[in-house]
C-alpha cells in the first residue's frame, strides 16, 4: 500500500517535471539588445591599440570601435556598450552562452570555429599574421634559426597550433612555455624566461612599442600564418549577423567613398550625387530597414567612430605609439585586401 502510494506519486512528479521541459523560449539577438538598451560586446582583457581601458576606465581601441559602431547603428548611442573582457578560454563560451552579443577580439577566422563551434564570422577587420620577437642580442635573424629555443605562447590561440606546425614542418624542436595572458607572456619574455615571444605581428608591434627599450627586441621577418581577425556572432541568428556584417562594411565603404566622421552629417543632410553614399547614409532607398534598423543607422555608426581608415589611424596607425602600417589592411584600391561588397 505504502509502496504503491509512493510509486504513484513518483510517477506524478516525473510527469509534472515533463511539462517544465515543454516550453522553449524565443527571442532574436536584435530584440534582446534593443530591449536591454545596451550591447554586450566581448573584447580582450587588454591589448594596447586594439582594446584597452584608458586612464578613466573607458575602453578604447580598434576592436572597441567595431563594438561602438554596432551600438550606434542599433541603438543610436555609441556609448550604450557593456564591454566584457574575455580571455582565450572564455571568449567562445561567453558568446555561445549568450553572455555577449558579439565578439570583437582579435579572433582568427578559421574553418573549425566557423563550423564546428557554430559561430559566424561576419568579416575581417584586420589581416594579420603570426610572427616572432626575439632579443636583439640573441643574434637571430630568421625564425629558421630557432631550433632548440624556448618560446612563450599565449595558450588557447591559433598561434599555438601554427607554432607547432611551423617547427614540425621545419624539423626543429622547441620548448613551449604556455601562458594564459599576453601581458604575462611579455613579462616572462622580458625576464628572459623565454627566448622568443610569438603572437600576431600586430600585437608584437603593439607590445614592443610599450617596452622600456624597444630597440632591444627585434621582430623576425617570417610570417608563419594567415590570421584574418574579425568580429563574430552566434550561428543561427542571421539577421543579427547581417547587422554586424554590414555595419563593418559600412565603415569600410565609407573610407572608400570618402565619408568621414567630419563630413558625414553634412553628407547625410540631403541626398548627394553618389547613389551608394546616399544608400549608406539612408537618404536614398531603405537598406537599413531591410536589416531591421532605422534609416540613419549606418550614418550613426560612421558618425560615432569614423570610417575604417580613421579608426585604424587613431588607434593603431603610424601616428600612434603602436605604429602599424596599413599594409594588407589598405583599401583594395590602394593594393590592400580591405574590400566591402557594394551597398545596393
Amino acid at each position: 500500500m505504502q509502496k504503491t502510494v509512493f510509486l504513484g506519486t513518483l510517477a506524478a512528479a516525473v510527469g509534472t517535471a515533463g511539462f517544465a521541459l515543454a516550453d522553449a523560449h524565443e527571442g532574436s539577438t536584435l530584440a534582446q539588445v534593443q530591449e536591454r538598451g545596451s550591447l554586450n560586446c566581448g573584447v580582450t582583457t587588454g591589448v594596447p591599440g586594439f582594446a584597452e581601458p584608458d586612464a578613466d576606465g573607458v575602453w578604447q581601441g580598434f576592436d572597441v570601435a567595431v563594438c561602438r559602431a554596432v551600438a550606434a547603428a542599433v541603438l543610436g548611442d555609441p556609448n550604450a556598450v557593456t564591454f566584457v573582457p574575455t580571455t582565450g578560454k572564455t571568449r567562445f563560451t561567453a558568446l555561445a552562452s549568450g553572455e555577449i552579443d558579439m565578439l570583437a577580439r582579435n579572433t582568427t577566422w578559421t574553418f573549425s570555429r566557423d563550423t564546428d563551434l557554430s559561430f559566424d564570422f561576419v568579416g575581417v577587420n584586420y589581416y594579420d599574421g603570426q610572427g616572432f620577437m626575439v632579443p636583439a642580442d640573441l643574434g637571430v635573424s630568421s625564425a629558421t634559426e630557432l631550433d632548440g629555443a624556448t618560446v612563450c605562447i599565449q595558450t588557447g590561440t591559433t598561434t599555438e597550433l601554427n607554432l607547432a606546425d611551423f617547427f614540425r614542418v621545419n624539423g626543429m624542436s622547441y620548448e613551449p612555455v604556455p601562458i594564459e595572458t599576453g601581458a604575462e607572456a611579455v613579462q616572462q619574455y622580458l625576464a628572459g624566461a623565454c627566448d622568443v615571444y610569438t603572437t600576431d605581428r600586430s600585437a608584437l608591434a603593439a607590445q614592443r612599442a610599450g617596452f622600456e627599450d624597444p630597440d632591444a627586441s627585434v621582430i623576425l621577418p617570417e610570417v608563419v600564418s594567415k590570421e584574418p581577425l574579425g568580429p563574430l556572432v552566434r550561428h543561427g541568428d542571421n539577421e543579427w549577423g547581417d547587422i554586424v556584417r554590414w555595419t563593418l562594411n559600412a565603415l569600410i565603404s565609407a573610407e572608400e567613398l570618402g565619408i568621414t566622421q567630419g563630413n558625414v552629417e553634412e553628407m547625410a543632410a540631403s541626398a548627394g550625387d553618389n547613389p551608394e553614399i546616399n544608400r549608406i547614409l539612408g537618404t536614398e532607398g531603405d537598406l537599413a530597414a531591410m536589416v531591421g534598423l532605422e534609416a540613419d543607422a549606418f550614418k550613426n555608426a560612421i558618425a560615432a567612430v569614423g570610417n575604417y581608415g580613421e579608426v585604424f589611424d587613431t588607434n593603431i596607425g603610424e601616428s600612434t605609439a603602436i605604429g602599424l602600417a596599413r599594409g594588407l589592411n589598405a583599401q583594395y584600391t590602394d593594393g590592400g585586401l580591405i574590400y566591402s561588397p557594394p551597398f545596393r
Binding site: F6, F92, A96, G98, T155, A164, H235
Partner: protein
C-alpha cells in the same frame, strides 16, 4: 528542513492503523508513517524540476543545439606541443593522449609534493615541540606564515623567483665572440637558470636492465638480512649487526656490476647548446613553483597534524618508556610515533588529497597538468567546454573517491586493533 527522524534511535510514534478506515489524504501530512514519503516526494519533485529546468535551458541554447555534445574531439589530432612529456608525444597525437599526459603530470607533481610536504611537515611538527626556544619559535613562524597566506600567492611568488631571481640563461651561453660564458653549471652538473634547473640524468645502456635487476636483488637482500637479524634476536637472543652488513649488501654488488658490465649506468650532464642546455634533466620553473609551493604550504598544515598527534600520546607512555631505560630517540620511534601515527594518518591523507586537488592551480604558472592540457589548451582549441570540464571533474572525483575508499579500509583496520 522538513525531514523526519535524524538518528537510528529516534522513535516514531507508531499509531494503530485506522480500523478499516482506509487511507485518507490527510494522513499524508499528519500520519508519521506517510509523512516521510510526502517529504521525500516534495524534495524529489523540486529536484527533478530544478534539473529539468537546467537541462531544458541547455537544450534550448542555440549553440549547444547546433554543436551537440560529443566526445569525438578526443580522437582528433591535438595540434599543440607539451613541454613536459612523461610519455612520447608529438603535436600530431590525439587530444586523448594529451589528456593522458596531463593526468600523468598531475600525478607526478602530486606525488613529489606529497613526499616533500610530509618531510617538511614532520620536521616542522617535531621541531615545534622542541625544548629549544629559538627553533620552536622559528617553526611556529613558518607554520603560521604559510597557513595564513593563500597557496596561489606562494605558487606565483616562487614562480616569479624562478623566472627573475635565478641567473639568466643568457649568462650560460657561449658568447658569439667565442669567449667564456659568464656562468657555468655548479660542478659542471647543476645549472640554475631562469628557464629551469638542469640536473644530470641517469642513462642506461645495453646491460642496464641487468644492473637494475642486481640493484633490486640487493634491496631484497637488505630486507632479508634485517629479518634474519630480528629472528636471531627474538629466538636465540643473539644480536646480529644490521647496519654495516646492510650497507655492504646494498652497495657492493652494484659497484662490482657497474665495473664488471663495463659501466652500463652513466650520468648525462647538461651541455650548453645554441639556446639552452641539451641533455640532462630539466626541472621547469612551473614544476619547481608548483612542487615547492605546495610542499611548504601543505607542510605547514601537516606540521600541525603531527604536533597534535604527538601531543595526543599521553605523557605516561613517554615516562613508562623512559622508566624501561629507552633512550629519547628510541622512545620517539618505538613508543610515541607508532601511537601518534594513528592520529596523524587520517588528516595526513586528506592533506594528500588537498595537494592533488591544489595541483590544478598549475594553470596559473603554465604547468602542463590535466587542467593545463584537457581543461586548458584542449578546451580552448576545440571549444568543447562542457565535455572537457566533465572529464576533468570525473578524473579528480574518481581519484578522490579511490583515495577515500582506501582511507576507509585503513580506518577500519586501525579500528579493529582497538579494544
Amino acid at each position: 528542513m522538513g525531514i523526519r527522524g535524524a538518528t537510528p534511535m529516534a522513535t516514531t510514534t507508531e499509531q494503530a492503523p485506522d480500523a478499516g478506515g482506509g487511507f485518507r489524504l490527510s494522513q499524508l501530512w499528519y500520519d508519521t508513517r506517510y509523512r516521510s514519503y510526502t517529504f521525500q516526494l516534495i524534495a524529489l519533485v523540486l529536484l527533478i524540476l530544478a534539473f529539468a529546468w537546467l537541462i531544458n535551458n541547455a537544450f534550448n541554447n542555440p549553440v549547444l543545439q547546433e554543436a551537440g555534445i560529443s566526445f569525438e574531439f578526443l580522437g582528433a589530432p591535438a595540434g599543440y606541443d607539451i613541454n613536459q612529456q612523461p610519455i612520447p608525444y608529438t603535436s600530431q597525437d590525439t587530444h586523448l593522449r594529451a589528456t593522458v599526459i596531463g593526468a600523468i603530470n598531475t600525478l607526478i607533481v602530486a606525488f613529489l609534493a606529497c613526499v616533500t610536504a610530509t618531510v617538511f611537515g614532520v620536521i616542522a611538527g617535531v621541531l615545534r615541540l622542541s625544548k629549544n626556544w629559538i627553533v620552536s619559535k622559528l617553526m611556529a613562524v613558518y607554520v603560521e606564515m604559510f597557513r595564513n597566506i593563500p597557496v596561489l600567492i606562494w605558487i606565483l611568488i616562487i614562480f616569479t623567483v624562478a623566472a627573475n631571481v635565478f641567473p639568466a640563461m643568457a649568462d650560460f651561453r657561449i658568447p658569439r665572440d667565442g669567449s667564456d660564458p659568464t656562468r657555468t653549471p655548479v660542478l659542471g652538473m647543476f645549472a640554475f637558470t631562469n628557464q629551469g634547473v638542469f640536473i644530470p640524468r641517469l642513462t642506461f645502456d645495453g646491460q642496464g636492465w641487468l644492473f637494475l635487476a642486481i640493484f633490486a636483488a640487493s634491496v631484497l637482500g637488505v630486507f632479508g638480512w634485517r629479518r634474519y637479524a630480528r629472528n636471531e634476536l627474538y629466538s636465540k637472543g643473539r644480536e646480529v649487526p644490521v647496519w654495516w652488513p646492510s650497507l655492504l649488501i646494498l652497495f657492493v654488488p652494484v659497484i662490482v656490476a657497474q665495473f664488471a658490465l663495463g659501466q652500463p649506468v652513466g650520468l648525462e650532464n647538461p651541455e650548453m647548446g645554441r639556446f639552452r642546455f641539451d641533455g640532462g634533466f630539466l626541472l621547469r620553473p612551473s614544476l619547481i613553483a608548483l612542487w615547492f609551493a605546495l610542499s611548504i604550504y601543505t607542510g605547514a598544515f601537516i606540521a600541525e597534524n603531527v604536533r597534535a598527534g604527538i601531543l595526543a600520546v599521553s605523557k605516561g607512555q613517554t615516562e613508562a618508556a623512559a622508566a624501561l631505560g629507552l633512550r629519547p630517540g628510541r622512545i620517539m620511534s618505538l613508543v610515541v610515533l607508532p601511537q601518534a601515527l594513528r592520529v596523524i594518518i587520517p588528516p595526513l591523507i586528506s592533506q594528500y588529497l588537498n595537494i592533488t586537488k591544489n595541483t590544478s592551480l598549475a594553470i596559473a604558472v603554465g604547468y602542463m597538468d590535466l587542467t593545463g592540457t584537457l581543461g586548458g589548451i584542449t578546451l580552448n582549441q576545440t571549444g568543447r567546454a562542457l565535455e572537457c570540464i566533465l572529464l576533468l571533474m570525473a578524473f579528480y572525483l574518481s581519484f578522490s573517491l579511490a583515495i577515500s575508499a582506501i582511507m576507509n579500509v585503513y580506518n577500519r583496520s586501525v579500528a579493529l586493533k582497538e579494544r
